[in-house]
Amino acid sequence: MAEQCPLCERPKESSSEFCSLHNTALRNLENAFSSWNKAYDGKISREECLDKIGTLPETGQSVKEVIHHIHGKGVAT
């Protein structure tokens, strides 16, 4: 059986750390960073951006889980 996503019971997608759902969340997060960066004229770091997104009520639960995971691993730079 395929390896399990570290954030849920779903199987990992091939060549990805996550399942399809958390992978979509990660992709959306990465895509959003350029919009955030542009919105703040380049004056927001990736770390600040993740922190902010992680606290917003509009942010999807899977995205929050991915952010938590990134923070846990200490790779959010």
């Binding site: 542009k38 919105a39 899977s62």
Partner: protein, 703 residues
């Protein structure tokens, strides 16, 4: 004397038909085997009216395989009591109708005039009345008023509407083939892997509908908001503070918004341009079922299924026309003037009906949609023969006011816009007012328009920016479906029928695929949809379902045969079911974990035990079989905390907290009843403080 047996769909309808045909003499109620029949005489003819109890016959496997076995491709129609449990009344009904039919010379199907009604009557006449379908006639009507029933009887169609009945049979057969094979495949896969029985279902319409909900949930759970800014500006116009909108609705870059504020703060501006536009607002179209369900949800938060069931009750009480209609047409033959005159006798509608009766000609603003069987929903003008409950009163009022509004005059609205220039920046002041109310006053309180009146303004007039502030906002995910918007999505996707869509939504709730009226997809829904996407994506694809709907509609028009559609379905399903069978083990493994988790989640409360902090769970006493909330720390921490639960109905733990005590609330759903939401903690507290105990049921606050 000739004896005519008339078959109706429901007992109330049977009584109305008998009353209408019996002229001045009240019908005689007779009981055959405990089943009521109504007997009247009309010009030397003995008329016996009986009713069905919905469908008395159902599709079942021809070979009677074990419940776990699939695939199953051979089927036949059997009495419902032989197919489903708890259908003992249906057996009595079939036997009694069969007995009465032996003495009948003439047969009439007077069930509701649509696919289901035609099928109910057809199967009873064919199977219970010894092949009487071949010589039976058909009464067609849209209201249960005496006048219309008498007319329908005098103009009875010489034979049954076989095409409608065949279309109905085909729908049941196709849905059965889907349900039995796919649901059994999922259930068996899960059972083999876990040795535990859980009912998992999917279906021709259910699968694609669930996919809508899951896709939306995925969109929400993977949504990343992005920031944007708006400017809130207060303009001083001759001492009056008015809010203005910037010509840039949203600033994607913060610095640009800040620069605008800096440029305009405390500055003077000039009114550059004044514009006014007048709009004509056409009256609404008459209600088809979907529009009625949508409005009932919008104004009263009544689910589509509940709105339909209330509307059907009002139809059986002769107060409104047949509600299962797709039509937005009101033909003159329904008698506009008579209806309006009769409505004026009902409290609250006199001034509106008087106004309409004085204006001629009476022309409803009809919509495009048509239904060959029925007009749009309209009030018959009959006064209520019993006290309506509050929800019935609401639906009745909505139907009446909508009917009145469709005859109303076009309303006119004026929109005013002032463009203000402050340096290089532009702001707008918006006003709007209703110049002529027309139909709006007839549809009140269901039509609301906000009026904003601007003070007298002139071009070149100087104004001042009194206050200008920056507001940070974030993009929002698409909203979750609610029962009403999901129903609309199903209709737009052309899946299901007006009669079945509301039931499909209820099934999603009952099966645990969807939580709450907010239509939150559960993990079980995610996993089942993912499995279907992986192993048989065509099951949740709307394309074939839509094609089937179209083919079944063609049967009604004699352009397609039932046999062909069933064969197409089997050919489509066979490879899918084979794939499922081949992958049974893998599917089972994937389902098992989520079933266990879903089951655990469905019985575990999110609030901890107030005594020991352990998890609270719904527990069943093995001896008394009664359910209650118990503490999982019972053995480890010797905690004896418990709370009572309602004993009847399907129980769901809601995410919602009690507004009085903050405890997690529960919902109980019983068939045919409005969901009951209650708080066990308040119940026990109130029971202790008040004797005798009173049930603490909170008003429904779902949105």
């Amino acid at each position: 004397m000739v004896t005519t047996l008339i078959v109706t769909e429901k007992p109330d309808a049977a009584l109305h038909v008998a009353e209408a045909l019996g002229a001045k003499r009240a019908p005689r109620r007779i009981s055959v085997g405990g089943v009521p029949f109504f007997e009247v005489e009309k010009g030397g003819e003995r008329i016996v009216v009986c009713s069905a109890l919905g469908h008395l016959y159902a599709v079942a496997s021809k070979r009677g395989e074990a419940r776990a076995q699939y695939p199953v491709w051979e089927f036949e129609w059997k009495p419902k009591h032989l197919v489903e449990r708890g259908q003992e009344r249906q057996r009595k009904w079939i036997e009694s109708i069969a007995k009465v039919s032996e003495g009948a010379d003439r047969f009439i199907n007077a069930c509701d005039y649509d696919v289901e009604g035609s099928l109910i009557g057809y199967t009873i006449l064919k199977y219970a009345c010894n092949g009487a379908d071949k010589k039976a006639q058909r009464m067609k009507f849209s209201t249960l008023t005496a006048k219309e029933l008498q007319e329908a009887y005098s103009k009875v169609a010489p034979e049954l509407d076989f095409q409608l009945a065949y279309a109905g049979m085909c729908r049941h057969e196709v849905d059965w083939l889907y349900g039995i094979n796919l649901s059994r495949a999922l259930t068996q896969a899960a059972y083999k892997a876990s040795n535990r029985y859980s009912t998992l279902s999917t279906g021709r319409v259910q699968g694609p509908t669930l996919r809508f909900v899951v896709d939306r949930e995925k969109e929400i759970t993977t949504f990343v908001p992005t920031p944007y800014w708006t400017i809130k500006t207060i303009i001083d116009v001759d001492g009056q503070a008015i809010e203005a909108q910037s010509d840039i609705e949203r600033f994607e870059v913060k610095a640009k918004a800040e620069s605008t504020i800096k440029d305009c703060a405390g500055k003077k501006g000039t009114i550059e341009k004044l514009e006014s536009r007048t709009y004509r607002l056409s009256p609404p179209t008459p209600f088809d079922l979907t529009a009625l369900q949508t409005e009932a949800y919008r104004h009263f938060l009544l689910t589509p299924r509940l709105a339909l069931s209330i509307a059907e009750r009002l139809y059986l009480d002769q107060m409104i026309s047949y509600p299962r209609t797709s039509s937005q047409k009101l033909p003159p033959s329904i008698g506009y003037v008579d209806i309006l005159k009769n409505l004026s006798n009902i409290e609250g509608y006199q001034s509106a009906t008087t106004r309409l009766l004085a204006s001629k000609p009476l022309l409803p603003n009809e919509g495009q949609k048509e239904d060959p069987a029925h007009p749009a929903i309209y009030p018959t003008g009959s006064t209520p023969k019993r006290g309506l409950d509050p929800r019935e009163q609401k639906i009745f009022d909505l139907v009446v006011r909508r009917f009145l509004a469709t005859f109303g005059e076009t309303a006119t609205k004026q929109s005013d816009k002032a463009t203000i220039k402050v340096g290089d920046h532009k702001f707008f002041l918006h006003g709007s007012r209703i110049l002529k109310k027309g139909w709006i006053s007839l549809y009140a309180p269901y039509a609301k328009f906000e009026e904003i009146t601007l003070p007298p303004l002139s071009e070149g007039q100087e104004v001042a920016v009194q206050k200008i502030t920056l507001e940070e906002k974030y993009t929002q995910p698409s909203p979750r479906y609610n029962p009403s918007s999901l129903l609309k999505t199903m209709e737009d996707a052309e899946i299901g029928t007006k009669a079945t869509r509301a039931d499909i939504i209820e099934t999603l709730l009952r099966r645990g695929y969807v939580k709450d009226q907010r239509m939150v997809a559960t993990q079980l829904a995610f996993r089942v949809t993912e499995i279907l996407t992986k192993f048989c994506p065509r099951v949740i694809d709307v394309t074939f379902t839509r094609e089937l709907e179209s083919m079944m509609a063609q049967i009604e028009q004699s352009k397609q045969t039932r046999e062909h559609v069933v064969l197409e379905t089997i050919n489509y399903l066979k490879p899918i079911v084979e794939d499922l069978k081949t992958n049974e083990d893998e599917i089972g493994k994937e389902l098992t974990t989520i079933i266990r988790e879903s089951w655990q989640a469905s019985i575990t409360l999110s609030v901890p035990c107030p005594r020991c902090g352990s998890k609270l769970r719904v527990v069943k006493n093995p001896k008394t079989k009664k359910r209650f909330i118990g503490c999982s720390g019972k053995w480890e921490k010797k905690c004896s905390f418990s709370l009572p639960l309602p004993q009847l109905g399907a129980l769901t733990l809601l995410e919602r907290r009690c507004p009085e005590c903050g405890f997690q609330m529960v919902q109980v759903r019983s068939k045919g009843r409005r969901p009951m939401i209650s708080c066990s903690n308040c119940f026990i507290n109130k029971s202790r403080s008040q004797e005798p105990a009173k049930v603490a049921v909170h008003p429904k606050i779902s949105k």
